[in-house]
């Protein structure tokens, strides 16, 4: 395969970022938006063609005679050489998951570019917005095609920074500023774990290269020589620390707190970064390193447990939120946790590692329907000028296109056949059941909750009762075509994506196999989802007091969930009370008063000492003479005495 196309996939968004960033202010809003969208469009075409070539061309670089797909490094140039073995290269690795991610990223990114033409119309800093979007697309694409773990870390940081810039897009709004700060610092903290993990892993394996590590994971294990630290093997430590990086980016509990706040950013940004692409980077990281994770059962167990806890937690919280973007944010956290669990329970011996495939499948379908839901939410917010569903209701009559597409999104996420979410979620549940009954039941319950809170949201927005919109002076209506077109496209994808034969494209060892539905699991999960939807219908279809009653009956739980189980308060306590007041301030005080005080004390002592003896040097000659005479006298006396003795 030629190197130009992959290079262009990365270079185009970067050039667009530099161009719009530097020259954006010189051009009109429209011009900048169209340029950015066109650039992304071209990238989309290139990425599609690359993915298509990879999967279907039959090129011997990409598929061997036995039908196994291969990992192919298109280019890889040296960026920084630490030692002979530890070299950071920037390259382009094409394999099933990176090809799939190329498609996901460019699709969603292009949709968001297009959508933003309408949504961000007339916003100040429109050019800046498109520049940041391009920067993000560049970083994210660089992340997924990384050939080595350090390249991934580089782009990992870059997506973090572009996410920071986009969350804080409305920089005059204090809440947006603090949300962006929080997002950056929390993920940075997680990245510290990632970095230390890389340090440990690279020290033992003497390589950053993914292919070297994953093609012979037993060598990775062997290279550690069975070293242990605090009871766990060094490899477990490294993998868990790397997973910590993934927890930060993918908003796994307890590092999830930044994601709900990140909704302060413009809604299309939430759709792109905080729903479809960046937040799944953690899943992608674990998937990338999966063969190495297989070497350490403990690490995979931690992945599973963290994922399962997060899934349940986020689903419960999502049932209580009133801000529609926050509901979607918690739903995102929960769904990403599904993917994590799928990876955690995946074992090669269970159905050819179905969990891995399911995780990637769910990543793909989730990206589509979650972006759809977010963009739909953006259209609603655009029409109603509020994030709260209490300001909405009965909107199905006013915004038919948004209504239908949003409903499709809800059905997809709830796992109703034949929508996309059904197929991917089903595979995850199969993997969970096969691994351990407990995880299977647990995740089925969470799937039920998912259906419930999504339809709760759906009914509150589109049914319930209709507020008097005329009174506020404007009647909500469907958005312009730039906004509805992406909705329709994504809705279509959400309907059909489930029929993609994912098992033949993306598997953990890149061997194709047929997926087949496990009818028991499928029926159970659909039944649970339908029951949950029915409950939601009863509670929220028309305005009634059932939900309040239920909330009151479990008041403690409800309040706790509404306040997100006080995680934010805990973090504020840790950062403000402990880090600032118990660490930073005392250190600053210590520096000023003890360290600096000591230095000043030396100076003061010198000053005092000179003050004490300066009286001797009075300048009064009369005193000098007196002292001189007395001295002479004394000397004389002493001499005389000495002589006499």
């Amino acid at each position: 395969m030629d190197q130009i196309t992959p290079l262009l996939i990365l270079a185009l968004p970067l050039c667009m970022f530099l161009f719009l960033g530097l020259a954006g202010n010189k051009m009109s809003h429209k011009m900048a938006g169209i340029l950015g969208t066109l650039g992304m469009g071209v990238t989309l075409i290139l990425a599609y063609s690359t993915a298509f070539t990879y999967f279907f061309s039959g090129n011997p670089d990409f598929i061997d005679a036995a039908g196994n797909r291969l990992q192919s490094v298109i280019f890889d140039f040296t960026w920084l050489e630490f030692t002979e073995n530890l070299v950071i290269k920037l390259g382009f690795l094409l394999d099933p998951i990176s090809a799939m991610m190329l498609v996901v990223i460019t699709t969603i990114s292009f949709m968001v570019h297009l959508y933003s033409l309408g949504y961000m119309h007339g916003e100040k800093g429109f050019q800046r917005y498109y520049a940041f979007l391009s920067l993000f697309s560049f970083s994210m694409l660089g992340l997924v095609v990384a050939t080595n773990i350090f390249q991934m870390y580089i782009f990992w940081e870059l997506v973090g920074a572009s996410s920071y810039l986009l969350i804080g897009f409305y920089y005059t709004k204090p809440s947006a500023v603090s949300a962006s700060k929080k997002a950056f610092i929390v993920t940075r903290f997680a990245d510290l774990g990632f970095l230390i993990g890389i340090l440990i892993l690279s020290f033992f394996t003497e390589t950053f290269n993914f292919i070297d590590m994953t093609s012979a994971p037993e060598n990775v294990l062997a290279s550690t020589g069975g070293a242990t630290f605090m009871g766990a093997s060094v490899l477990t430590w490294a993998l868990v620390l790397i997973f910590m990086g993934g927890m930060g980016k993918s908003a796994m509990m307890p590092l999830h707190i930044w994601l709900p706040d990140a909704m302060e950013g413009p809604t299309p940004v939430s759709a792109l970064i905080h729903a479809a692409t960046m937040v799944v980077a953690g899943v992608y990281l674990v998937a990338r390193m999966f063969p190495v994770y297989l070497m350490e059962e403990a690490a995979l167990t931690i992945v599973t447990v963290v994922g399962a806890l997060t899934a349940l937690y986020a689903a419960i919280v999502a049932c209580t939120q009133v801000d529609i973007k926050r509901v979607l944010a918690f739903s995102t956290i929960s769904q990403i946790a599904f993917m994590m669990v799928a990876l955690g329970v995946a074992r090669p011996e269970i159905h050819e590692g179905v969990g891995y495939m399911a995780s990637m499948f769910h990543l793909f379908t989730h990206a589509m329907f979650k972006a759809l839901l977010f963009l739909g939410a953006g259209a609603l917010i655009h029409a109603v000028h509020s994030n709260d569903y209490t300001a909405m209701g009965g909107l199905r009559k006013y915004m038919p296109i948004t209504h239908i597409t949003f409903l499709i999104g809800c059905l997809a996420i709830a796992g109703i056949p034949p929508f996309a979410g059904f197929f991917s979620k089903d595979e995850i549940l199969v993997a969970a059941f096969e691994n351990n009954m407990l995880w299977g039941l647990w995740m089925t319950a969470v799937a039920g909750l998912t259906a419930f809170y999504m339809f709760r949201l759906y009914y509150r927005i589109f049914w319930w009762n209709t507020p008097d919109y005329e009174k506020h002076g404007h009647v909500p209506h469907d958005a312009p075509w730039t906004m509805t077109l992406p909705l329709i496209i994504l809705a279509t994808v959400s309907i059909v994506a489930g029929f993609i034969p994912f098992g033949e494209l993306v598997t953990w060892n890149r061997e194709a196999y047929h997926i087949h539905l496990n009818w028991t699991v499928a029926t159970t999960s659909v039944l649970v989802a339908v029951v949950a939807i029915l409950i939601a219908t009863v509670m929220y279809r028309k305005e009634n007091a059932i939900s309040d009653k239920i909330a009151n009956s479990v008041k403690g739980l409800w309040t706790a969930a509404y306040n997100r189980f006080y995680f934010d308060e805990l973090y504020i306590f840790i950062t403000h009370k402990i880090i600032f007041n118990l660490v930073s301030r005392p250190i600053a005080w210590f520096d000023r008063h003890i360290i600096d005080g000591t230095m000043d004390m030396f100076a003061t002592m010198a000053h005092k000492a000179s003050g004490a003896i300066k009286g001797l040097q009075s300048g009064s000659i009369q005193t000098y003479v007196l002292v001189y005479l007395l001295g002479a006298l004394l000397l004389g006396v002493v001499t005389v005495v000495c002589v006499m003795l």
């Binding site: 300066k614 009075s618 300048g619 009064s620 009369q622 003479v625 007196l626 005479l629």
Partner: protein
């Protein structure tokens, strides 16, 4: 009665001691100057007398005294000039008060 060396040396010693005492205790600059002159003249007397009694054939002591007197005159003139100037500036020639240039 024979005028011996002692007859000169005792008054000169008294003069010198007066000078030293005055120099140490006086606060008025003119008085200090006078004390200084007293000491100087006491020394002059000694020079002359020692020359006269001990080395009658030589004149070094005499010459030294002449030099000392000349220098003392110049020095007195200079000192008086300084004192007058100080008085003009500070309206005072008490050494205890003239601490402006200290430290």
């Amino acid at each position: 009665m024979d005028i011996t060396l002692m007859y000169y040396l005792i008054p000169s010693l008294v003069m010198f001691c007066c000078g030293v005492y005055g120099f140490i205790t006086r606060k008025n600059m003119i008085a200090i100057l006078i004390s200084l002159e007293l000491m100087l003249n006491a020394v002059d007397i000694n020079f002359v007398v020692f020359n006269r009694f001990l080395f009658p054939g030589q004149l070094e002591g005499m010459f030294f005294t002449l030099f000392a007197i000349a220098i003392a005159a110049a020095e007195t003139a200079l000192a008086i000039a300084i004192i007058i100037n100080i008085f003009r500036v500070a309206k005072n020639i008490d050494v205890r008060d003239l601490t402006k240039m200290k430290f």
